[in-house]
Symmetry: C2
């Protein structure tokens, strides 16, 4: 079982959109058994699959804390399994931090289900909070979506510095790659092209060849509670996430 | 002195861009003395003013904790004063939470400087963390930027529920309004128009008449470390933030 975290402390760069569509591509095209974990109390990923988050339902925090069996938390939808989030996840963070095994809580919890899935994809919140650390420590690879804009680019250096430090306590946690989102080299936005080129030079191979173009169908699909391959299979969004997933599979 | 927080736990909706340009408009057009506080450890707002965040400089956390005098933290730039952020702010959050006065830390700290400014604008991180609570409790009004997209719209209900609960311990904290960002009603994106209409119906007067159109000059200005009025005074971004600031001033 391979565990992948989609992570970036900058907000709104496409973490949830990438988690959703990479997982869908792994299932639809590579026939992989996939578990998605929504570690963000905003529950965006949960909503993208049409699962209503609510205070009285169990969430991924219950599985991580071990107070509820996996089967009573997981939801199967459109061929993938989802450990949903809810606003209550926020208040569970303190109990995770005070557990004896922190920050290895999720890594240990995932041991219990390692024979059931080929891939686990973890959508992270836009912070360097304990939930993001728990996700980074539990994964083999982390991928960083980068919006081709100044603020997202500026924050990348500190973020990669932080994740690299983390390897001292979790040597298995490896940067899978950084990829551009909402980027369209053909629209002559000089700033975006300059930022992407600068990142490519700095990161070399760690900067993925595939980029995700701006495509309204991606958010339209989410409003309908489904993935891009189901909603608009011929769109730029579908083509780009298909080739990004292929590039991820080739790197493994 | 009026204190305004720009908040939304959804990431990437324009909190930093709005904080920067509302503050700049208050100074340039309404001749107000403005203090900006960057409560996000990503330090986006700090970078928007060309201030390099670094580990060895004092940040707004030092002022809130009271270990450094205000004058030794504040930076004056382009007519406004900024209490900058740095990656260290993240680690100061725990000391703020354990202070006797939590979560009134900032409210109390601002008492010391209340004769020096007309407005304080606080840029918040994309979470419901303690830093966001500290900001909400210290402000008179909070304004919520809303991207005209499904995930941002979906999260609004829970967010406003949370901020409304907070009024039980801070009755002065009032919703100033919600405003649409990166919205362009003329581009026939049916989903965006539907979401904006739905929000307008739900919120009535609380949904601001001014919306901010998508405008690349806003991020280009940030890459140059300045505000939109200095970089592109005739752009849509400048026109929209001017009228939004006017609408905010009329509401006070
Ligand atoms: N390539 C794209 N083209 C068009 N819209 C996109 C694209 N990627 C993401 N979006 C939209 O942009 C918004 C932000 O994306 P998303 O929510 O996935 O980012 P995030 O990094 O998960 O945000 P947060 O920091 O709040 O968790 C969403 O409304 C999403 O539908
Ligand atoms: N109206 C707009 N038109 C075009 N670009 C915009 C607009 N508003 C914001 N942006 C850009 O979108 C990105 C996200 O905006 P911003 O960083 O201000 O959001 P935020 O809510 O502060 O994000 P975070 O959740 O990470 O704090 C930035 O690169 C910014 O330059
Ligand atoms: Mg997300
Ligand atoms: Mg911001």
């Amino acid at each position: 079982m391979k565990v992948i975290s989609i992570v970036n402390n900058k907000g709104g760069v496409g973490k949830t959109t990438s988690s959703q569509n990479i997982a869908a591509a792994l299932y639809r095209f590579a026939k992989q058994k996939v578990l998605l974990i929504d570690l963000d109390s905003q529950a965006s990923l949960t909503k993208c699959f049409g699962i209503m988050d609510s205070f009285n339902k169990k969430n991924c925090g219950n599985f991580i804390l071990g107070d509820t069996p996996f089967q009573d938390v997981v939801v199967s939808v459109a061929g993938v399994d989802v450990l949903p989030s809810s606003p209550l996840l926020n208040s569970m963070e303190d109990s995770m931090k005070s557990a004896a095994v922190f920050p290895f809580n999720l890594k240990i919890a995932l041991e219990k289900i390692k024979d059931q899935y080929d891939y686990v994809i973890i959508d992270c919140p836009p912070t360097l909070s304990s939930l993001t650390r728990i996700a980074l420590i539990s994964c083999n690879y982390y991928y960083v979506p980068l919006q081709a804009e100044y603020l997202s680019y500026e924050g990348l250096r500190n973020f990669l510095f932080y994740t690299n430090e983390l390897r001292q306590i979790s040597p298995n946690t490896t940067l899978g790659g950084v990829f551009a989102t909402r980027y369209n080299p053909n629209i002559k936005k000089k700033l975006s092209n300059d930022l992407v080129e600068a990142t490519r030079k700095q990161l070399g191979d760690m900067f993925m060849k595939t980029y995700i173009r701006d495509n309204i169908s991606l958010s339209e699909a989410q409003a309908r509670g489904t993935d891009i391959f189901d909603y608009a299979p011929d769109s730029n969004g579908a083509v780009d996430y298909y080739s990004l997933t292929k590039e991820i599979l080739n790197k493994q």
